[in-house]
């Protein structure tokens, strides 16, 4: 009953001040909405259990190098050894991502799939929609080729035919029998649309010949991920002792599949979560302060109520109801905004990948989000309501009624206001530094120089199936023909062919330099470089600048030739000022063959295979002519002479004329590829820019509110001091110095924590340390300006009163 009347009273008070109610509600909506958004977004991306029975224990085992979580697959033999020895994992299975060409009614189409051990379906406790999955016998080397297809593939390629089972389909030129169809949206382990058996026996081949696989398993009950990772680390150490050449520095770790995708970026995720909590605090402090101001204004009313015998609990309840109503209304608005934001996010994140999006990217309000919402709601009600309630119900009501406290802000209130200002400065600076690092990182990423001319180029990938292009010469002939025929197309100009264009990940290999001595013959003793194969002429046409020597020419063609071009970064790292021309290097392998030395014939400007500022982007590269080491998968870069559509048609027609079962895929402009590559960062930076703007607004309004409140409460004190002869400048200086002191108290810890988080993020995002310094300096100046302005404006207002008016100020 009392509760209801208190609630009604709070509602009446809020209705009486619509401006105040709207402001506080919107601040709360922004705080809860933004924080909740980040938590929900991150949970879906990284932490959410996969939507399968026992999804919480399902993990992927990947390879690490010198402790860095690279997320690379393991050697199949290493995986086998781990499977036999590790204690904490159950139902272990292996898989590898593959890209295949599937020949259908409309020609060949490229699909993402996996080659996996048969238990991959059992791991997800998922039964096929139709038919069955493959078994152990079908996984043996030489077994009849079989395939399980995905729902969308079944619908698109076979029109959902009910008699699909047992049909034959050509995959990479080989007929495969369709065993089953998986349910809709089943893309496990990430974007697979078809599942093939591995058909490999690692024991039958050498370590060098064994393929690379990821492990999958369930963590046994009673074991934690940490314990399993310790076991994996120990086992990998043993392997490194047994195979030092290939395994020194290598480790293994298990994570849930979404977490494995995050790799070392997990530092960014944690920083984002900290920022989300901080912005919630910021919003809560602001609303808390506004409610506190109101509570202080109503101090006399509260004193009268106490004098009339109101119990303290009732007074607290009345004051708390305001917080409950504001936070709940703000929370609901925030939740609605969140639902809209997550819907937009789903659309935006879909553009991050060329093909399908990983299956767990299903953004929306789920049980986790609602739980966090409730937690946030209770926390904000406590933070915003407790301070005013406590402050206003515990005072000396007799003193208030006697009006004996004129002249100065009470010590407790003054201290509380100072703590709030300092907290706001600390929180805002921390959030803004984190946001600043992300925004600057995106700025640098978008303006990155990859070392090539990327405009007006169409790119596409072509994968030659091993069934029909098993011989190196076949591969060389096909790509030579393709290049020459494409160049004759009117829609296309120069055609460049390479295993990886700048901006695309390339295989990294250990390189030995002739004449140099290495500590041991372990992989880790040698320097590493990107190993890229190019068709002669491609580097020049791409605009990769020649610094010394020459580009590749016809004289370098053929598997019996051994020439190489290196980047100037490679020269600087390994030859210093000496000319490298004529010197020899070799790719380190352990196949027992005679070292195959390559002579350096040219030096080109550094090109980046990843973000130029990242460690991978700074890695030197070595280029070899394609014909010296032919590969099945190549990337085409075609200078456009017409529009993209015409050029794409010309490419498809040319490929069809050469081999009707050969599709080109990932067809897009080079610029579009690079833009998509920066998509996640662009999105994140957009979110954090929003965070930053919200933070600046919340901080500016919050600190202004606090300062204004503090100085207003000191108006009489200011009047007294002026009556005693203090000049305006002196009072203004005192107040500004007090503001500056609070700036230091909040700013220094804010800088330390913000720079700590920012440094962690800059390591992952490859933001240079100078940028962090500049961000921190700029932000402390901005916050400083906010604090001083927020102090100056109410000070000026207080000083504009005649001292006589200030003395009588209520």
């Amino acid at each position: 009953m009392f509760m209801l009347s208190d609630c009604r009273y709070a509602l009446r008070l809020l209705a009486k001040s619509p401006g105040f109610t709207a402001l506080t509600t919107l601040v709360m909506a922004a705080g809860i909405g933004l924080s909740l958004y980040l938590f929900s977004f991150i949970n879906t991306m990284v932490f959410k259990d996969l939507p399968f029975t026992d999804g919480d224990s399902l993990v992927q085992i990947s390879q690490s190098r010198h402790g860095a979580l690279e997320g690379n697959p393991l050697n199949y033999q290493d995986y086998q050894m781990l499977r036999e020895a590790v204690q904490g994992l159950d139902e272990m299975g292996a898989y590898r991502n593959v890209t295949v060409n599937l020949s259908g009614r409309d020609g060949a189409v490229r699909y993402s799939g996996v080659r996996a051990e048969p238990n991959i379906f059992q791991l997800t406790r998922t039964q096929p929609l139709m038919g069955r999955t493959f078994n152990q016998a079908e996984n043996l080397p030489g077994a009849e080729p079989v395939v399980v297809i995905g729902y969308d593939l079944w619908k698109s390629q076979f029109a959902g035919a009910s008699d699909i089972l047992e049909r034959q389909v050509k995959i990479d030129g080989v007929s495969h029998r369709i065993l089953g169809v998986m349910p809709q949206d089943y893309l496990f382990p990430n974007v697979a649309e078809l599942w093939l058996p591995l058909n490999e026996s690692p024991a039958a081949v050498s370590r060098q010949q064994a393929g690379r696989v990821y492990g999958l398993a369930h963590i046994k009950s009673g074991y934690s991920t940490t314990e399993v990772n310790q076991q994996l680390a120990l086992l990998m150490e043993r392997l490194a002792q047994r195979y030092p050449q290939t395994n020194s520095g290598l480790g293994a770790y298990c994570h849930s599949i979404p977490l494995s995708v995050a790799e070392d970026g997990i530092a960014v995720v944690y920083s984002m979560q900290v920022a989300a909590v901080l912005i919630l605090f910021l919003a809560s402090f602001n609303v808390g302060n506004l409610l506190l101001s109101r509570a202080i204004e109503r101090g006399k009313e509260t004193a009268i109520r106490m004098a009339l015998g109101a119990p303290r609990a009732r007074l607290i309840s009345q004051l708390l109801w305001e917080s409950i109503l504001i936070c709940t209304l703000g929370g609901i608005i925030g939740l609605l905004l969140l639902a809209w934001g997550l819907e937009v996010t789903e659309r935006v994140t879909a553009s991050f990948s060329y093909g399908r999006q990983v299956f767990w990217f299903k953004f929306g309000i789920d049980a986790f989000t609602l739980k966090v919402f409730l937690l946030f709601l209770v926390s904000t009600i406590f933070i915003t309501g407790f301070l005013p309630a406590w402050k206003n119900s515990g005072g000396d009501f007799n003193q208030v009624l006697r009006d004996g406290t004129r002249g100065a802000l009470s010590k407790k209130t003054g201290r509380l206001n100072r703590v709030l200002v300092i907290s706001e400065i600390f929180l805002s600076l921390t959030i803004l530094i984190v946001a600043g690092v992300i925004v600057v990182s995106r700025y640098l990423e978008e303006r990155a120089d990859y070392g090539v001319k990327t405009d007006n180029i169409l790119i596409a990938s072509v994968l030659l199936p091993s069934s029909r292009y098993s011989q190196a010469q076949q591969q060389v002939t096909l790509f030579n023909q393709l290049q020459s025929q494409l160049q004759q197309q009117s829609a296309l100009g120069d055609v460049m062919i390479s295993t990886a264009l700048p901006g695309m990940p390339a295989p990294v290999t250990a390189i030995a330099i002739d004449g140099k001595e290495y500590l041991s013959d372990q992989q880790t003793s040698f320097p590493r470089a990107n190993h890229i194969l190019v068709m002669p002429g491609s580097l020049a046409k791409l605009g990769v600048e020649l610094r010394q020597g020459r580009y590749f020419s016809a004289q370098d063609e053929g598997q019996d030739k051994a020439t190489v071009i290196v980047t100037d970064s490679f020269v600087t790292a390994h030859f210093g000022d000496q000319s490298p021309l004529g010197k020899r290097i070799r790719v380190v392998d352990y196949d027992g063959q005679t070292p195959h030395w390559l002579t350096i014939v040219g030096v080109v400007r550094h090109v980046s295979q990843d973000k130029p500022s990242s460690a991978d982007g700074r890695m030197p590269s070595v280029f070899r002519p394609y014909s010296q080491l032919p590969q099945a998968q190549m990337v085409l870069a075609m200078r456009l002479k017409s529009d993209v559509h015409s050029a794409t048609l010309a490419l498809r027609k040319t490929l069809q004329s050469l081999d009707p079962e050969l599709p080109a895929y990932r067809i897009e402009t080079y610029q579009a590829f690079l833009t998509r590559k920066t998509g996640p960062m662009r999105f994140l930076s957009g979110v954090f820019l929003l965070f930053g703007c919200a933070t600046v607004l919340l901080t500016a309004s919050g600190i202004y509110g606090l300062m204004s409140n503090t100085i207003r409460q000191r108006t009489q004190e200011i009047g007294v001091k002026r009556a005693l002869g203090a000049c305006e400048q002196r009072i203004a200086r005192q107040l500004l110095l007090a503001g500056a002191a609070q700036l230091l108290w909040g700013g220094i810890p804010g800088l330390i924590v913000g720079c700590g988080l920012g440094y962690g993020m800059s390591q992952v995002m490859a933001t240079p340390p100078q940028a962090l310094f500049l961000i921190a300096t700029l932000l402390i100046l901005i916050i400083g300006a906010v604090v001083l302005t927020a102090t100056w404006l109410p000070t000026r207002r207080a000083l504009s009163m005649e001292p006589a008016v200030a003395l009588r100020y209520e």
Binding site: G404, R406, G407, A408, L724, G725, E802
Partner: protein
Amino acid sequence: MNNLLIKIDNLKKVYYSEELETHALSDISLSIAKGDYVSISGPSGCGKSTLLSVLGLLDTATAGRYVLAGHDVSNLPNKERARIRNQEIGFIFQSFNLISDLDVKENVALPLTYRRDLSKAQRKQWVKDALDKVDMSHRAKHYPSQLSGGQQQRVAVARAIAGKPSLLLADEPTGNLDSKNAEAVMQLLDKLHADGATICMVTHDPRSASQAKRRLEVLDGRIVSDRLQLNPQSEDKHHVYAK
């Protein structure tokens, strides 16, 4: 009149609000000599506190001339007005207006901290002298909240006299005190007057007003009576000073 401390001519103070023009003071002319003890009384809202505020340079007049100690202070810049308030005028307020964060000694020292012509030792000595005069030295380390109303007002008086001002302005100095403490404060003002202080006091209380040598009555922003009380505390004799 070399002995003249205050001379105001045709002083006006008008407050403007959106729809209203309130004449708080209308054509007031007044002279106060050094060593005078003047009480200003009148009903609420008559303008007596406004007059005191203008005299104390806490407020500016809308029109008229104000000469303090031979200097025209009608149109001084804020900085100069602050200096005069600090060095020439001492204020005693009804609600004491002590700074609650500062102890007694610091409160009394406050006006002295705004002066550059005093050494630290001088400042200390002046504070001690002021506290001795009001008999509050023993409470120097106490905070206002630890003092009674009477004690707080004595501290406020000490603060007002600490800078050795030529004029003491008191706005209802006994308004917040019980009769016993009010009497003690009035005795203190008497003592200060006897020592040569010029005092100008706004009061509602006829007993307090009767202690002054000269009694002004204000009504509707004008001085309607200006009597010299030859025998303070009696009300039978008076002279008209006001023009």
